[in-house]
């Protein structure tokens, strides 16, 4: 059985998205900046795509900037807010310790430019509180950037409350909604979101397309300089197939959000409950404030990558917080941030579902996981001692 359970890493492109892309890869190949009919047909598609994103976010089309992905959107949001803050002499930014690296590394860059960054430590349940944000606000705070939902442990942050607070305090509020968009209801007006990042490949759209929503009046700093595309705020010939696929996927995801979520939540909870039966395991992240598709646990005494390899042999595509492949030997900064010790964090497993997953698949995962954990534990010198009480239990 083949089970794709790594939808937080990327999703399969939906038929709807592909159908929207194909015309742009065949007949409608024009450059939207071109005056002629071939170009203007593309320009119309570009406008339509912009309107789609605006509609489902409750924003204006002119507030939508297309980027090459979630990372670029995050970069541009933070750099822009920083530039605005700097002009007012405000150089303090509030964020969280478990943001995506697209945010964290951009914040590092801002620190090099003289900004001060406060990274809020998430509580053990992975849900930042409004009080934490409130306490961190200073007179020179120019930006609060807090992710809508965490990419590893799936916890949903109190975005509307943080938005209201920031509005009251007159501070720009950006949210990395890469994991949330298409999965959770977003209303930039009601939630008082000033800037928001989206990446299409997280909701069955294509890779290489992102959206930066920025409220009217927020002056964007270019990350990419050049032509006057995107109102001069993002240079480069538009990725038309990608943009059209992204818009189709977003509309589709938003239209079917509730039914998809209901399906995923039932699978998720079955999987979470089932896996939590394995001894010396612990669920990461709040059980309620959680993305419909996110399952994340740590299994003591074993290491994530070897678990993934064995799952892969069984046809199950999953991921681990250990991020071993990316060349880092550090365990997930997210798991460390919610207080998991290094050795426990190494043994994490993330299974992220989409509406394409079935109950049969969940049953299959539940059937193979205990064997895999046992097999690795038997090989593990750590487990041996954990079992015999020679090593301190971590969980």
């Amino acid at each position: 059985m083949q089970v794709y359970a790594d939808n937080a890493a990327t999703t399969a492109v939906s038929k709807t998205a592909l159908d929207a892309m194909l015309p742009m890869l065949t007949d409608c190949y024009g450059n939207p900046s071109s005056l002629h009919t071939v170009g203007q047909k593309a320009a119309e598609k570009l406008s339509a795509a912009r309107e789609t994103f605006a509609k489902y976010l409750n924003a204006q089309p002119a507030e939508i900037t297309f980027t090459s992905g979630g990372s670029e959107a995050d970069n541009q949001a933070i750099v822009s807010a920083g530039a605005i803050g700097e002009q007012k002499g405000k150089k303090h930014i509030i964020s969280t310790a478990f943001e995506h690296h697209a945010v964290l590394h951009t914040l590092k860059k801002m620190e090099k430019r003289g900004f001060e960054v406060t990274l809020l430590p998430p509580p053990e349940n992975g849900v930042i509180t409004v009080e934490q944000v409130k306490e961190a606000i200073r007179p020179d705070t120019c930006l609060v950037t807090i992710m809508f939902a965490n990419n590893e442990i799936g916890t949903i942050q109190p975005i509307a409350e943080i938005g209201a607070l920031c509005k009251e305090k007159n501070i720009l509020f950006h949210t990395d909604a890469v994991q949330a968009a298409g999965h959770l209801h977003i209303d930039v007006q009601a939630m008082h979101i000033d800037m928001l990042s989206i990446s299409a490949h997280k909701f069955h759209g294509p890779k290489g397309v992102g959206v930066l929503y920025a409220r009217k009046g927020i002056f964007l700093t270019n990350v990419i300089e050049g032509g006057s595309q995107e109102r001069g705020k993002r240079a480069g010939t538009e990725n038309m197939p990608g943009i059209c696929g992204a818009a189709a996927a977003f509309a589709d995801a938003c239209e079917h959000m509730d039914e998809n979520a209901a399906h995923m939540i039932s699978l998720r909870d079955k999987l979470l409950t089932g896996l939590a039966q394995i001894p010396h395991s612990i669920i990461n992240g709040d059980l309620k404030q959680r993305l419909p598709g996110n399952v994340n646990l740590c299994f003591e005494g074993i290491e994530g990558e070897s678990m993934l390899l064995l799952l892969d042999e069984k046809g199950i595509a999953a991921s681990s917080g250990s991020a071993c492949t990316s060349g880092s030997l550090e365990p997930s900064h997210v798991l460390l941030s919610i207080g998991r010790p290094h050795e426990v964090a190494h043994g994490s497993l993330r299974l992220s579902l989409s509406e394409y997953n079935t109950e049969k698949e969940i049953d299959y995962i539940l059937a193979v996981m205990p064997e895999i954990v046992n097999y690795l534990r038997e090989m593990s010198p750590v487990w041996d001692e954990l079992e015999h009480g020679q090593r301190k239990h971590q969980i």
Partner: protein, 153 residues
Amino acid sequence: MALYSDQVMDHFQHPRNVGKMDDADGIGEVGNARCGDIMRMYIKVDKDSQTISDVKFNTFGCGSAIATSSIATEMIKGKPVTEALKLSNKAVVEALGGLPAYKLHCSVLAEEAVKAAVKDYYDKNGIAYGDELKMDCEHCTACDSHQDAGSKA
């Protein structure tokens, strides 16, 4: 899985000499759980020939940590202790048909696990040894390398 060579996958999927050894003559443990890799190697030494008559390992770690442990046991089994000491991480990597660059530290761990086991055997039997068996943790840069490179989709 293209990440690893066929040899690595073979040793990961079918690790040789895995398990504990209750009557080991030498036990070496290297790495630490913080870094995500611990290897424990057990050796049984034939006192007459000073050869490694049996070897076992337990490893907590990634696919290549398990594979390097496994192949290292194969490479020293039946060999004179002095020769086992010459096992280099390079030889381990070669025998596995290569490792991704950021996994090379696993081969270093395997080399060190063997040395630690031999050292333990020497210590227990009062056999003198030279500086090459003085373990230095600085040798292994596993914990501080690449720390900036990680990311997660």
